[in-house]
Amino acid sequence: MLEFLARLFQRHSLSSKDVAKERLRLVLVHDRANISPELLQLLKDDLIKTVSKYFEIEEKSLEVTLDTSDDVVALVASIPVHRVKRSVKVASV
């Protein structure tokens, strides 16, 4: 009985407007990202700069995408690494 009530309330708590808002939030992450490929390029350039401090990478095959699966948006970066750099120079702050 209690379980039934709990389920009932749980179902109720996910109202259709919450579903609408969540779907909107997700679709807009993509829409907004799609508006500016420049932004993605800037991010790529920054990534290359940072990652190159530690690894020798293949810059040309670097891929950065926004991936939506289920209800999570993830930033996915695929960076082919040739080798780890032996001496990491830490930039003085």
Binding site: S15, S16, D18, A20, K21, L24, L28
Partner: protein
């Protein structure tokens, strides 16, 4: 020098033309000189919403191409002193006017009128670019639906890219009862997502259909909820701080009962 405001939405059917007519009439009611411009070339409708469809001689395209003077194309409204319409052409398409020509027409209107309000067509193509070309401010209309809010977001991005900063949002066709039941996004939800300033909220109202049937505006009707919402929007455009109206003041019996009993 007047102010040029474009009313836009991205998605069609959310109430741009109705809002243009009512905001324009609302400003004229307050004694301002207002020019309404229908930028929806090929699908003109502001004329029928205002009940002025039988008085069109020249249109926006005629003015842009120099077939007539601007003053010859302006139709004077009989109910509101100071309200004028520059109708769109019906037999041409969006490419009949260029953004530079729209800019020029807006400049000329600004000298004569306190407010120039442009009814933007749906979409984000040339019709949209024409409509925003001469505007200094933008009002974005949406309804509490996923599709309309998504399109509003896209339009806000395009407006900002075109240097029309800080557009103001109007949420149209809100149903307070569905909001209370959790079946419609709230104003807070929409503002949270779009991150823009709110200019007003218009409740769903059958009176809009009735007045539009007759070619009248709802902003004149004292007892209409949507009319009150449009009057409030008008006042906010004029810089008065007006709080959002209580949307459920005349709610159904049980809502009132709950309120009387101190439960609502």
């Amino acid at each position: 020098m007047g102010e040029v405001i474009v009313i836009t939405s991205g998605k069609g059917g959310v109430g741009k033309t109705t809002a243009t007519a009512n905001i324009g009439a609302g400003l004229a009611m307050r004694g301002y000189k207002v020019a309404l411009v229908d930028a929806d070339i090929g699908l003109r409708n502001l004329d029928v919403v205002l009940g002025l469809e039988n008085r069109i001689v020249y249109d926006l395209v005629d003015v842009a191409h120099g077939h007539c003077r601007l003053k010859q194309a302006l139709i004077k409204d009989k109910r509101f002193e100071g309200l004028y319409l520059l109708p769109a052409a019906q037999t041409k398409d969006k490419t009949a006017v260029k953004p530079e020509q729209m800019k020029e027409i807006c400049l000329q209107l600004k000298e004569e009128f306190d407010f120039v309000i442009i009814d933007c067509p749906a979409g984000i193509e040339q019709g949209f670019r024409n409509a925003i070309a001469g505007a200094e401010k933008a009002i974005v209309i949406t309804t509490p639906e996923v599709s309309a809010v998504r399109d509003a977001d896209r339009v806000i991005g395009l407006l900002e890219a075109a240097e029309l900063r800080e557009p103001k949002l109007v949420v149209n066709r809100l149903r307070p009862r569905m909001v209370r039941q959790g079946d419609m996004m709230t104003i807070e939800d929409i503002i949270d997502i779009l991150a823009v300033d709110l200019l007003g909220v218009i409740p769903e109202d059958e009176q809009i259909i009735v007045t539009t049937n007759r070619g009248d505006t709802v902003v004149l009707m004292d007892r209409s909820r949507s009319g009150e919402a449009f009057r409030n929007i008008t006042r906010r455009i004029l810089g008065e701080p007006v709080p959002l109206m209580e949307l459920e003041r005349d709610g159904h019996f049980f809502a009132r009962l709950r309120r009387i009993m101190g439960l609502g």
